[in-house]
Symmetry: C2
Subunit: 218 residues, 2 copies
């Protein structure tokens, strides 16, 4: 498959690029094309230095990245994602869009601040063409752990979406990352639950002297 | 300590009685005293048949159970808990009250239906005297697994409460149950998060062919 990662120069985007590049063509997308190309080269270097196979990681603009791919990963902060997608709206057709987006703010602790739609995933669905299949997943995966290719990620990933085929594709992509276990979280309307887990996990870590918490349902 | 379990004749109440009876005096409370006495005798029998030590499990009415204890466990359904506590209000002084209560309804799936206060825990705090210390915990522990004394429960228990001493006491009680790990979840206002995990876990289990799911933060 061809996978475009919006926000691909950030650490969570880099993590997915490194983890999926052995099986898929990865496009690292950024507003700044030079930055995207530089990051893509670095990621390819990282993989090849480990003696691993790499299908190819290419840097490009957001517009050209989105156009011809099967999957678009939204690893961008909530602040800015809606204006960004409104600008890019016309480059979307029927891609699977994976939202990792969590709307939250920090006072003393982190707080989930969903939009009127109930979750970032539903708001994102609202601004994209109806033919796009929005799926939400990976909100609670630590970027630091994802980046460490030696690390087996023994976590559960709850996947929500209204299109069953798209959800299945994302669940399959999840299984390709060593030890991640996908779980069907139901329709996109259930996304608020997995989005709200992120500030909850950060607060839990801060309060209990832990870090990079993920979740397992056992 | 003396621990009164409201709803002590139910399976989750039985589980806590069996797990804590080796260190604490347990009072099984019910509107129907005969039923409470019968259950208490059965639980003591279960423990002694396993050759384990039992401090003593006594059946009694809700009123007499609450009066002189250190901790009151509310293992009753949300429906009915507020009228019940309004009736019992005058028997409370400064006990620690542990709320396991989850307001939820079932349509096709389970849905969290918090009251206006934001969570059952906050609503319960509202109807009890101000001197009572409400702590919320154990919403996501499987009754079936708790009842199986051979089973080591390798789960995290998030504990929320505004009184730090009371919260610490509940965290210590948690550690006394083999392999349960308490985590500080912050003030009582954070209870909505752990309450809402219960319908989420039930739905996740139903959708993925699993059962009796608990949670671990790793």
């Amino acid at each position: 498959m061809k996978i475009a990662i919006l926000g691909g120069t950030g650490s969570i985007g880099e993590g997915f690029a490194l983890r999926w590049a052995s099986k898929h063509d990865i496009l690292i997308c950024s507003r700044e094309v030079d930055k995207a190309i530089k990051a893509a080269d670095e990621y390819e270097g990282t993989i090849k230095n480990k003696g691993l196979f790499c299908c190819g990681i290419t840097g490009c603009s957001n517009e050209s990245g989105i156009k011809d791919v099967d999957v678009v990963v939204l690893s961008v902060p909530y602040q800015g994602v809606i204006p960004l997608l409104k600008n890019l709206r016309h480059f979307f057709k029927d891609q699977i869009v994976i939202s990792l987006v969590v709307p939250m703010k920090k006072n003393k602790w982190f707080e989930y601040t969903p939009p009127a739609q109930g979750s970032a995933a539903l708001e994102i669905k609202d601004v994209l063409p109806k033919s796009v299949k929005v799926v939400s997943a990976y909100h609670n995966i630590s970027a630091k752990k994802l980046l460490n290719l030696e690390l087996s990620l023994d976590y559960d990933v709850v996947v929500c979406g209204d299109d069953e085929d798209a959800k299945r594709t994302v669940m399959e992509l999840t299984k390709e990352i060593k030890n991640l276990h996908p779980l069907d979280g139901g329709g996109l309307a259930s996304s608020y639950m997995i989005e709200s887990l992120t500030p909850f996990l950060i607060n839990l870590a801060l309060r209990n002297g832990l870090c990079d918490l993920g979740v397992k349902f056992v």
